[in-house]
């Protein structure tokens, strides 16, 4: 009896949380655009984009320890789906196709690179971005005769709303994977892949599918962001910096907690917006310094640091809340 009331109380609390969350999301989607300026909407879309990239990067690379430098490839595939199909299909379908195209590429890459461990996987994904960039550039100049393409324009509110939807779906998926037995299985792959295989985890299937799921969100984000830029070429679409930034944001934010990557991405996206136009070199310099310091002194990122402080403040009693 006691157990039952406890359960229903927990359920009510969960329901309350879900309702509050839904109200906040709907408010952000439909009420906020009426009050926010265009600049604020653009800023929020950019911050959401980085959170999507970082959280979906952490979805695969966080627990498994495989450092993927492919986000730029998945994002770029999304951009090119928008550039080539943006005029032919309704916007939501384009976004979906962009995500699916990236997921398809991820499936292919994942299936090909199963044998590669550690540093080899990182340099493979790094080479992948550059290979797609140069093949595409060659193709465009040789067969279409132009270097870049124009992307169909979409109004700022719609971009913002779709970006918000992708963000919510990304965070929800990341949360569900982390909470499920798949999250545990991924963690065990990161710790000892052979052991994970021996206790009956289908390592291959799990790695490839989570890699593809994370690529889906990156591709969808790329598709919708492309409509903001109006003109893209292979160098803009497959910019390697978009592979490096999610890694830094994740390391800086901390991968031990689901909100760590969100925090890291939000801070850096805001800093970028503030500094990139006026002091681009100082911004990138600070970026490099923080990355180096984080790798050296903050193995668990900001989230780890905050937890340590909380543990100290409560005398260790409230460590897991």
């Amino acid at each position: 009896m006691n157990k039952l009331t406890l359960k229903s109380k927990n359920f009510l609390e969960l329901l309350l949380r879900v309702i509050v969350l839904l109200v906040v999301i709907i408010g952000m989607a439909y009420v906020l655009p009426n009050y926010a300026s265009v600049y604020e909407l653009l800023l929020l879309s950019a911050i959401f984009m980085y959170i999507v990239l970082t959280s979906s990067w952490v979805m695969f690379s966080g627990p498994t320890g495989y450092i993927s430098l492919a986000p730029a490839a998945f994002f770029g595939v999304g951009i090119y789906v928008a550039a080539s199909q943006g005029m032919n299909m309704p916007l939501l379908v384009v976004v979906l196709v962009g995500g699916l195209a990236s997921a398809g590429l991820a499936l292919l890459v994942g299936a090909l690179t199963l044998r590669l461990k550690g540093i080899y996987f990182a340099i493979f994904t790094f080479g992948l971005v550059e290979m797609i960039k140069h093949l595409l550039l060659w193709y465009e100049i040789k067969f279409t005769g132009t270097r870049g393409r124009f992307v169909v324009l979409v109004d700022h509110t719609t971009v913002y709303q779709i970006m918000l939807a992708i963000l919510v779906l990304t965070l929800l998926t990341a949360y569900l994977i982390r909470r499920s037995r798949f999250g545990m299985a991924l963690q065990s792959i990161g710790e000892q892949e052979e052991a994970a295989q021996h206790i009956g985890i289908n390592v291959t299937l799990l790695k490839v599918s989570v890699f593809a799921i994370s690529a889906f969100f990156m591709g969808a984000a790329g598709t919708i962001m492309a409509t903001r830029w109006t003109y893209v070429d292979p160098y803009i679409a497959f910019d390697l910096n978009r592979s490096f930034t999610p890694v830094l944001m994740a390391i800086f934010g901390g991968m031990g907690q689901p909100w760590g990557p969100v925090l890291g991405a939000a801070i850096f996206a805001y800093l970028e917006e503030l500094f990139i136009t006026e002091f681009p070199y100082y911004y990138m310099l600070i970026f490099g310094i923080i990355l180096t310091i984080s790798v050296l002194y903050l193995p668990n990122g900001l989230a780890g640091l905050i937890q340590k402080w909380r543990t100290r403040a409560t005398g260790g009693k409230d460590a897991h809340s």
Partner: protein, 289 residues
């Protein structure tokens, strides 16, 4: 026909010499110090821009710059290993984690060096003209500066090989590459050897940068392009094998020259295709262990 063939082969060898020199430094840093140094190209950029500055502003002969850039880059690399990578090595629980962490730290270094260079030199593309006199090689014409580049690449490569095989320090380096903990037990000062290797890698990059600046224009964001080529060559030759990357450099140079002859737009794409195929089919490379 013969002249075209000679043209392609010599151009390939000239390019290959440069690639070999760039890659040997990275190979040393990865093979011994276990740092896949993504900021390798930034040392090439520093060498190139310093040479440009010394030549155009102070009128110092580019070849003399080798004696200036090399030692400075060595001290810089040595210091970086002593401060950053030594600490990472001590705090990383396993060699695999150290490789990942050190690669990420070198990304940080890349941004730091590149943007400090941007702040001091600006984004302009620079170049100077030195020894650009044509030399006739069996009917094909090549610039004297490019031949000097090849000569220096061979010279540095061979000198380095002799250093590794004949000297006590070289022996210590090879021991550390094979088994760092046993080498340490046998009285090799591991931290010093690793820092030395990292410094030597940086010095070779700076020398390569000086040679690059004699033939190609230099600018502050050129580093990544060369880092990528160095990584491809190092994988081609076998991660960690120094003779492998020396030979791999020439092979890639020849491939680049052949592809450029038939389809100039595809040269870079061809490098990546080879790279990806290698990783998939034979990740140990030509001479890897």
């Amino acid at each position: 026909m013969i002249v075209t063939f000679l043209d392609i082969v010599i151009a390939g060898l000239l390019l290959g010499g440069l690639y070999a020199l760039i890659s040997m430094g990275l190979s040393l840093q990865y093979g011994v110090a276990r740092v896949l140094n993504i900021s390798h190209g930034e040392f090439i950029m520093l060498g190139g821009l310093t040479t440009w500055m010394l030549y155009t502003v102070f009128d110092i002969n580019p070849l003399l710059c080798l004696a200036i850039c090399g030692p400075i880059a060595f001290i810089l690399g040595y210091g970086i290993h002593r401060t950053i990578f030594k600490r990472l090595l001590a705090t990383s629980p396993s060699p695999g984690i150290f490789e990942s962490n050190s690669m990420l730290a070198s990304f940080g270094l890349l941004f730091i060096i590149q943007n400090l260079a941007q702040l001091s030199w600006g984004p302009e593309i620079r170049g100077y003209s030195y020894l650009r006199v044509p030399v006739d090689l069996g009917g094909a014409l090549f610039g004297a500066n490019r031949l000097i580049t090849l000569g220096f690449a061979l010279l540095i490569g061979i000198a380095f090989y002799i250093f590794l095989t004949k000297t006590r320090m070289g022996k210590a380096i090879r021991a550390a590459a094979q088994d760092p903990s046993t080498a340490g037990l046998l009285g090799v000062n591991i931290n010093r050897v690793l820092a030395l290797c990292f410094g030597l890698g940086a010095a070779m990059a700076a020398c390569a940068g000086m040679l690059v600046s004699m033939t190609y224009p230099v600018h502050t964001i050129m580093g990544m392009e060369y880092t990528v080529i160095a990584i491809i060559v190092v994988v081609l030759g076998g991660l960690g094998s120094i003779p492998g990357s020396f030979i791999g450099g020439f092979i890639l140079g020849l491939i680049g020259s052949i592809v450029t002859f038939f389809e100039p737009g595809l040269a870079l794409a061809a490098y990546y295709i080879i790279f990806i195929l290698l990783l998939l089919l034979k990740p140990t490379g030509l001479m890897g262990k």
